[in-house]
Subunit: 545 residues, 2 copies
Amino acid sequence: MKIALAQLNFHVGNFEGNFSKMKSAIADAIKQGADIICFPELAVTAYPPRDFLEFSDFIELSNQTIKRLTELADDIAIVVGAPSINPVIEGKDLYNSAYFLAEKKVLHITHKALLPTYDIFDEYRYFEPATSFGTVTYKGKKIALSVCEDIWNVGNENPLYTICPLDESIKESPDFIINISASPFSFSHADDRLDTIRKNTLRYKVPLFYVNHVGAQTEIIFAGGSVVANQYGDIYDEMPFFKEQLKVYDLDEVSSSRQNQIRKKEKIEMIYQALVLGLKDYFGKLGFKKAILGLSGGIDSAVVAVLAADALGADNVRCILLPSQYSSDHSVNDARILAKNLGAQYDIVPIESIYGAFMEELDIHFRGLPFGLAEENLQARIRGTLLMAFSNKFGNILLNTSNKSEAAVGYGTLYGDMNGGLSVIGDLYKTEVFELANYINRNKEIIPTNTITKPPSAELRPDQKDSDSLPDYDILDRILFEYIEAQKSPKEIEEMGFDAKLVARILRMVNINEFKRYQMPPVLRVSDKAFGIGRRMPIVGKYLS
Amino acid sequence: MKIALAQLNFHVGNFEGNFSKMKSAIADAIKQGADIICFPELAVTAYPPRDFLEFSDFIELSNQTIKRLTELADDIAIVVGAPSINPVIEGKDLYNSAYFLAEKKVLHITHKALLPTYDIFDEYRYFEPATSFGTVTYKGKKIALSVCEDIWNVGNENPLYTICPLDESIKESPDFIINISASPFSFSHADDRLDTIRKNTLRYKVPLFYVNHVGAQTEIIFAGGSVVANQYGDIYDEMPFFKEQLKVYDLDEVSSSRQNQIRKKEKIEMIYQALVLGLKDYFGKLGFKKAILGLSGGIDSAVVAVLAADALGADNVRCILLPSQYSSDHSVNDARILAKNLGAQYDIVPIESIYGAFMEELDIHFRGLPFGLAEENLQARIRGTLLMAFSNKFGNILLNTSNKSEAAVGYGTLYGDMNGGLSVIGDLYKTEVFELANYINRNKEIIPTNTITKPPSAELRPDQKDSDSLPDYDILDRILFEYIEAQKSPKEIEEMGFDAKLVARILRMVNINEFKRYQMPPVLRVSDKAFGIGRRMPIVGKYLS
C-alpha cells in the first residue's frame, strides 16, 4: 500500500484555492500510484479559521468542498481535515474531524478529542471533543485516523488531558496510524514533534504517517516537517521545513526499513526561514506585493529589510530614510549602504522641517515646558505618518521593525515606530536580532558591520543610547525570558542572580505597557510565547505594576 | 438566616485592594446581623484575570488572600470566588471555585462545571470543569453553591452544554441556592438573567441568591443587578445597575414574600451608564484622571466628550479642535459650543501649516499624483499625532471616538482617528450614537442640534460626506448587525430585502478591514458582539473578501 503525504500551503477561507491545490495533488498522487493521500488538519478551511467557524455559511462552503473531494475519491482514498457538524444538540456545534473519503463516499470520520485551548489555540471555543474512537479498513488494511493533538498525550504523559485517544483505537489492532496536523512552528518545538511521534510508534508498534501544514496564516507559521515513522521508532523520513511537498511512501518499505532520516535544525536558520515564509504568505495571501519600511541605520530595521528582500524580492522593498537633527551621520550612511547592498529602492525624507511645523503650532501650548517624552515620540510619529503616506500612495504594506525586548518594556512609540501591517521580528529578543544579523552576514557583509557593532540608540535626543534607560540587553533579555516564556515569579528570577530592584522594575515595565502591545501589529510567531493572541493579559490589571 | 450580597467593584490582580474592600463589607454585614456574606465569582482576583492565571505566583497571592479571608470567617460565613488548585495531575491546573469559609476554615468548596469559552470568554483555557457537586450545611441550613454559568443550563435548555450542575446538587435537598457570578453587561442580555434565575427557582423550588460583579475591567463592563428570587419564581429584589451595594436579606422574608421588584431597563439609558462606568474604571484602575480628545464638531466626538465629562468631571476633560482647510465653519463653532456647554477646557490647533510641511517634503515623491487617500489619511494622522503630543506632555489619556459602523467598514484612519487608549463608543452603530446624542439632549441642548442634524462628514476633502462612499447609516447598520451580531450569510441578508451587490460590498469591507481593527484600542463592550477579544477573525482570510 502506498500512502501520499501532501504537505501543502492552504489559505484560510479560500475554499476554491484550497480545493484546486488538493485536486492537483490528488492527480499527482494517483500518477505516482498512491492508494491513499493525506492532507493536514482542517485543510479544507486552512488553520486556524477562527470565528469564521461560527458562520453556518462558512461551514456550508466547507461541506460543499468535502463533497467535491468525495467525487475525486475514486481511484484513491483521501484523508482530509475539515469541520463536521455535531448531530447532537448538546455540546458545541462542530467537531474537528478527519474525513476518510473513498469509493466516492465518506467511508469513515474520526473526530479530535484533545482540543488545544492555550496559547494561540482556541479549539474548545468551537469544537466538541470526541469521546469514541475507531478505525477504518481500506484495501485490506486497518487504519487508525487521528487529528494533531490526539497523539500528544501518549501514555497519558501530558498533564493537560485526561484521556489518550489512540489507547482506544489501538484496541482494534490497526496496521498503521495516520495523523493529520496543524502544528505551528516554534524554534524550540521542532524536535518535540519527533520525540512524540517516536513514542507513539514505540507504544503502539505500528507505523505512523504524520502530515502537517506548511505556510503562514497572518502571525502563525506552520513549518511542515511531516514525518513517517515505523514500528521500531525509526524516523523513516522527515519532510522539508518551510516548503510544500507531496511524497509517496510504500508501507512495506517503511515497515521493513531501519533508516533514520532526521533533518538538522539550527535555531537561527529556522527562524530566518520561518520569518521569510511568514512575510511571503502575509503578502501573497492578502494579494499585495510591495513592502515599505523605515531604515534607521539600526540593526532592527536592517534585519527586517533583508528578510523582506528575500521574501518579496528587493524590487518590491522600498526603504525610507527619515533622518532628524538627532540622527548621526553614520546612521544615514549605514542605511544607505544596506539598501544598496540589497538593491532596494531608498529615499531620504528629512523630518526636521515637519517637526518644526509641529513645534510651532504646539509652542503656545507647551511653552515653558522642557523637551521630553512628547517631543521624542513626536519624531517617531512623524516618521510613522510619513511611512503610512507612502504606503497609502503606492500600495506598499508598512513593515513593523520592533523587537520583542522593546515591545516587552514599552520602549517604542505607539502610532510611531510601532506602526505596520505586520511585525516581522517582534518575537525576537534584541540579542536574537543580533544573532540573526550575524547569520545574515555569515558569508558576506550585507548588513554594514557598523550597524551591528554600534551601541543601540533610538536617536530621539542628543547622544541618546538604549542603555541610558534600559539594562544591557543580555541581562534584560534573560529577565524577560524568565518572566514571559517561563512565567517565573519575581522571587524566582531574583534567585537566579538578578538584582531584585531591577527585576521589579523590568516586570513592572512589561505589565504597565500592555496597552501598547494591545495595539501592536500581529507578530510573526517563532517562539513558544509571542506577544499577540497567544498571550492575553489584562490592561487595567494591578499585578506587579 | 440573613444573607448579605456584596455587589462590589473589584480590580484585576489588586489583591490588597480587593481584600480591603471585602474586609470592610464583612464588617458592615456583621453589623447588619448577616450570617453569610456572598462575594462574586473570582472576586479575589477580579474577573477576568486572563493569563495572569498561568503564573503560579499570581495563584499563590490569591491563595494567601483566601487565607486572610478565612481568618475573618468567624462571626460570619463568607462565600467568595477564587481559583483553586486542581490536586490531580491530569486536566487543567485550576478550578474556578466558590469557597465557603466559616469557623475560620474552608468548610466547603464548589467548582464551576460549565466553563464559558465563546465570545469574550476563555475559561477552558485555564480551568478544569467540575464533575461532582454537593451542598454545605451551615447553621442548620443546607446550601447549594454554584458559580455563574452553572445556572445557565437549567433543564438542559442550553445547547452548549451536556450537563446541568444543579440537577445534581438538588438531590441533596438544599434550602436555598447561592450563585456567585461575573456576568458581563450587554444591553440585550439584562432581562435574560431574570428569566434564567426565575426558571431555576421554579425548577428547584428554593430561593436563589445571585451576586454579580459591578464595574469595568478595561473593555468588559459588569452591571451588577444582583438578584434575590424565591421558590415561587418571584424576583424579591433586583439590586441596582452600575452601582456598588451591600444588602442583607432575611431568608424567611424572601421565602414568604410574593413581591416582584424588577427594575426598568431602557436600552439607551443603560448604555449611557455603562459607558460612563467603563470610562471611570478605565481611568481609576490605571491611576489616571485626565482625558483628552479631538472635537471635530461631529456627533461621535461630541457624545464621547459628554460621557467623559460625566465620568471624569469636566475639569478633567480637555478638548482639542483641529481644523484644516477642509473644515467647515460650523464644525469649529459646534465643537466650541459643546466644550463651553460642558465647561471643559478647549484649545484650537490648526493643522494646515503642518499639513503643508508634510506635503512639501513629500512633493518630490508624490509629484504628478492626484490628491487621494494618502492626503486624506495624512490629515487624520496629523490630528492623531497632535493629540498624542498633548497626551504625552500633560498625562491625559487620549479617548478614541470611532463608532462601530465605521470600525466595521474600515472608514477610519489607522494611527489617525483610530488612536486612543480606549474606544468609548466603538460598540455603538452610528444610528445608536444618534440615539445616545438625543438621550443626552433629552432635557436640554448639551450637544448643539446642528451637530446632530447635519450630514455626517469626515471633512478630509472639499464637500465630503459619509454618504459619498457609504450607504445611509440606517441601511448600513442593519446589514452590519445581521452579519456581525446575527452571523447571517450574504444570501440570508439579501433575502431580508437588501440589494445583493450592496450586501456583498459591505461584507467585503468588513472582512478586508480586519487588519485595522486588530490595532484598534479596546472597545467598551455593550452589545452581544463587540469588536475586540470577543470577535476573533483571521486577517489573511479569504472568506467574503
